[in-house]
Amino acid sequence: MRSILWRKFKDRSALVVITVLAFLPALPLFHILYGIFRLGLPAFSWNFFTHLPTPPGEPDGGVGNAIVGTLMLSMLASVLAIPVGILSGVYLSEYARGRFGEVVRVAADVLQGVPSIVLGIVGYLWLVRPMGHFSALSGAVALSLMMLPVIVRSTEEILRMLPYTLREASLSLGVNYWRTVIKVLIPTGLVGITTGILVALSRIMGETAPLLFTAFGNPFWNFNPLQPVDALPLTVFKYAISPYQDWIRQAWGASAVLTLMVLGLNLISRILARRLSGDGK
């Protein structure tokens, strides 16, 4: 048996080493946040939010079209992914017994693991090549493939958490099963399902790779889903690797906008989730 002092010394040094190693990675992570806001916020101005991009050197360039594009892509992707995601989640929680349910779950897990750039290729092959040109729709399809598994699994989990007595109460009043799902289960789980959707949204909003050869980018205003659009992450990428100081400044500005959007969505979903766990008690 080694001496107590030696063991105590080892215990203490482990505590110190682990604490230091645990907090060291906070440095780069906070430095990124610091960089985004210190360099990004000064780029904010009325013109920055409302103007089209300008060639390097010309003043008053903005990212208005990219903000519109990001919102449009997010909305299109949501419209595509939410109905499929919720109904598949309902299937997994309410109907899936046996093998097919497992197959669907595995499919969702596989989809979640597909690298986003690969989904970009898929969007290209499914829509861009047949249509002959880049489009917001093809980008939204690629993004909706990323949203889908998150919504499916969160909907399933939330509905499973609801007590069985809830279903029985509704059924005993003579309500059909489908009406029970639509009028009782989904409204009861709505906060949780919304949280899942927001998490999925915050994940796709900052995605660049699937948009490179689908939405492609577009320096003009575009509200047509069948035409290419710009998106904030594409702007950040394009400006960041450019040699122009003015564009790099705007890349930080666009990053700050994007970060605020993503962190905002994340925070809202967290507050909702907290309310949910509070209700459950």
């Binding site: 985004i36 109904l87 997994l92 197959v103 596989v110 900052g206 962190l263």
Partner: protein, 290 residues
């Protein structure tokens, strides 16, 4: 219950969408395979072992990208391991629950920062740092390249790995730990002797899932890896990963065979991440059975 029964229709609807999702996943695989057929036919197995990627002369070997992806991903995993393990242990064992919850929230929020922003940060802060180190070491000071890409990947997968390790360690039953404390073990001895061995397979699964993320990560890597499609000659060299070469060349590929070769790289990436994820799920499943 006939087809007109609304319950039946609703069931069919849910079932149909679920089936649709399964077909979607199969469709992704089939699409990639179909898209890479011209390249598969033209190069066969040589695609995997070919060292030369020359779109102008239509010579396509993907080995440099396979090597680039493996070096950056495993490099990132090794770099991140001590920190992720420490963060996980700290959050699960040392920090008071309230502090741990607050810190976990912050970590999760940081994990949500888009990868293109990590790339922007790496381009302007990490590249000068790496260049400085390279000058001190006396190697060619690119600043860009394999080390920078590994570093930024390490930073990116750390929050993810740390939160999985924390969850795994929290699943260790209290009775086991209390038994060890009862025998007079110190805190560190409990962590080393009980918690880590008990959660080992879960930790490995978590690291595999993190590896899966690193393998497919595109933007941040594309921005700092230097984009050179030759076999890297040293760990300091410029390179390309599978994801970064797709990101760089896909829209510029003017010939069908070039595009098809890039799609085949996408197919390979899909299969590799699929294998890594399945391996991780199998480990987790076996964990749940226990």
């Amino acid at each position: 219950m006939g087809w007109g029964d609304p319950d039946r229709i609703f069931y069919r609807l849910c079932w149909g969408f679920s089936l649709g999702m399964v077909f979607l996943v199969l469709g992704i695989g089939i699409t990639l395979f179909w898209g890479s057929l011209p390249s598969l036919k033209a190069f066969g197995w040589h695609f995997l072992v070919g060292r030369i990627w020359d779109p102008v002369n239509e010579k396509f070997g993907a080995l440099p990208f396979l090597v680039g992806t493996l070096i950056t991903s495993f490099g990132a995993l090794i770099l991140t391991l001590p920190f992720a393990l420490s963060s996980g242990i700290f959050l699960a064992e040392y920090a008071p629950p309230r502090v741990a919850d607050a810190l976990s929230t912050v970590i999760d929020l940081l994990a949500g920062i888009p990868s293109v922003i990590y790339g922007l940060w790496a381009l302007f802060y990490l590249v000068p740092l790496v260049r400085w180190v390279e000058m001190k070491l006396g190697v060619i000071p690119f600043g860009l390249g394999l080390p920078t890409a590994s570093l930024v990947l390490a930073v990116m997968i750390l929050p993810y790995a740390a939160s999985i390790i924390r969850e795994v360690l929290r699943m260790v039953p209290h009775e086991l730990k209390e038994a060890a404390y009862g025998l007079g073990a110190t805190r560190w001895e409990v962590i080393r002797g009980v918690s880590i061995p008990y959660g080992l397979s879960g930790i490995v699964a978590g690291l595999l899932l993190s590896l899966g993320r690193a393998l497919g990560e595109t933007m941040a890597v594309t921005m700092v890896i230097g984009n050179r499609s030759e076999m890297p000659r040293s760990p300091w060299d410029l390179a390309n990963t599978m994801a970064s070469v797709i990101a760089n060349e896909f829209t510029e590929a003017s010939r069908d065979i070039h595009l098809s070769a890039l799609i085949e790289i996408g197919l390979l990436l899909f299969l590799i991440t699929l294998a890594v994820n399945i391996l991780a799920r199998i480990i987790i499943l076996r964990l749940q059975v226990r």
